[in-house]
Symmetry: C2
Subunit: 340 residues, 2 copies
């Protein structure tokens, strides 16, 4: 049995902030990272929570990431803004790009944000949710490192390449989904390996390209896209959008240049924001959002059906009062990191 | 054995055009439909070829579609153009919107096209391919009628909701994919039923929500999304983009109002065009496209791997000289339709 310790969300934030700052991460970066890690713990998304902090720090210690990089904003076109992460972490670059992206979406109806030269280690949903909270439709995608075989192939090439989408709702949090284009998260396979469990069929193939339920064999071979060739097509689209479109690396290149220090890899992120009221003739935002609710009601009429973000939002109601738990060993590690 | 007849692509176009015009479809609409049907036959996409012409005509005969509608173009925002199909067929509405969409993409970097109030019966790939041929990145999606169960649910709600994507390539046709968010096309299940074959597991559930390999039971029950809840999330996103975002119907409403005349249902289509050169600081389009080719080369290095559009483009090399074949019965039907 893993010994757990309980923390308030404020304690989560403080623990993350202190560990990062004690290891040379600038206040702006440390705050942006602590915010995203705290949001993950608040929503019970453990795989993007405090568990990630040691990785961030390893990538600073190895010299790979510039821990005090100042992201640079540049307008590339009336509806396209670029943020050059300057070899720093992505959360601050994304934060810096959010207001110009939203402003352009309101002005032009649709706009895009290209984040380049940044290290990604967080979930995508906080970024699109932030756009949804501003009344905008949000889309984001990012490539990672080579883990997933292309359609018909058997060797790793694409990243697990997640995409996220947000739709704004009146008087409640946006509808959001955030999903990898691989059949499973890489971390899920690692957890099966650690616990000595077989993985489900369809998650991976071994180094010879044969289907396997052995997690170690799948990690040494390749992950499979979700839904066969259709998921592979989405992974390919994301390689192009977060890579060639914005002048950043593909997953296979991120893998080649990564120092394997246990931290995030470098790459690009592509986001789109749309002002829904600019996409209908009437401009009646209230009626438009009410109309979308008729679809959500139809979904929820079905026994067992649910909206994509419901589990996260349920956790969000609990954790501000109940707090969250992490393994005592992780707490001790983060506490020690906070002492430099 | 089905008796086949061979036609040149010119004959395909003429046969379609004549049948449509003899049944009251205006020259502009008939030409746009004949072009898209001929492109499908040329690329060996039979399910969107001449086979569709009787359906177009049925929907005119029933009085559902306005066969001489004049689509109306309107700028909703600097980067958003709307085409109101005026209760007519989609191919002409899309054609009318293409130039303003491309112009806006070049001006603003990214732009969107909302096609509303139109009847969709064609594949999406010709539209995004046309953008790719203009050097733009293209995305399109459309909702259909209620066939697919939502995540966790067992009753039809979403359409088969395809999405298509195009990436421009120098000196060759764009990379394109076009895929339903259902595990299979509805037509595939119908073909299995006709031929007395079981369908693969994962395509559908029966009216009680149980997995089935009986095509008739799946048609009476619900289709499943590709890749489980992740495909369902994509189907949901498409309902929102091609529905509430642009003020058009959801699939469940299209089903409620459709006259079941065997023709297309009404709905919206959402497209995005991006000028890739406006998304990089250098603006060096040539280097950008060359860079994307390094990814395509990596894919093709793997035995068995292929690019999404390869099969269609291979057919396209053959059919201008070899022609195409259709069942003699379909030829006779179209020929008779052409005589009014």
């Amino acid at each position: 049995m893993v010994e757990l310790t309980r923390l308030t969300l404020d304690e989560v934030h403080h623990l993350a902030l202190r560990a990062l700052q004690a290891n040379g991460v600038s206040e702006d970066h440390a705050t942006a990272i602590a915010d995203t890690v705290t949001a993950a713990e608040r929503d019970d998304c453990k795989s993007h929570g405090l568990f990630r902090i040691p990785g961030y720090i390893l990538s600073v210690r190895s010299g790979k990431v510039t821990p005090d990089a100042v992201p640079e904003v540049r307008e590339l076109a009336p509806a396209v803004v670029q943020v050059d992460g300057k070899n720093g972490f992505a959360p601050l670059a994304l934060r810096v790009g959010r207001a110009p992206l939203a402003e352009k979406a309101r002005q032009q109806g649709i706009a895009a944000l290209a984040v380049t030269n940044a290290y990604h280690f967080a979930a995508l949903w906080p970024e699109v949710e932030a756009l949804g909270e501003m009344g905008l439709v949000g889309f984001a995608c990012v490539s990672t490192m080579s883990y997933v075989a292309p359609a018909g192939g058997v060797k790793p090439l694409y990243g697990t390449n997640p995409m996220a989408f947000a739709w704004p709702r009146a008087d409640r949090p946006p509808l959001v989904f955030d999903q990898a284009s691989s059949a499973s998260a890489r971390g899920e396979i690692m957890l099966h390996e650690r616990d000595g469990h077989a993985i489900p069929e369809g998650w991976g193939i071994d180094a010879q390209g044969q289907p396997t339920t052995d997690p170690a064999a799948a990690l040494a071979g390749a992950q499979l896209p979700f839904g066969g060739y259709k998921g592979a097509a989405i992974a390919l689209m994301i390689e192009l959008l977060a890579g060639a479109l914005i002048g950043d690396v593909f997953s296979f290149e991120a893998t080649e240049i990564d120092t394997q220090d246990g931290g995030p890899s470098i790459g690009g992120e592509w986001m789109i924001a749309i002002d829904p009221a600019r996409c209908i003739g009437s401009g009646d935002r209230q009626a438009q959002l009410a109309y979308a609710e008729t679809l959500f009601a139809k979904i929820l009429q079905q026994d067992g059906a649910r909206l994509p973000s419901d589990r996260r939002y349920a956790a969000r109601l609990r954790t501000p009062t109940e707090g969250i738990t992490i393994p005592q060993t992780l707490y001790d590690e983060l506490h020690a990191l906070g002492n430099g």
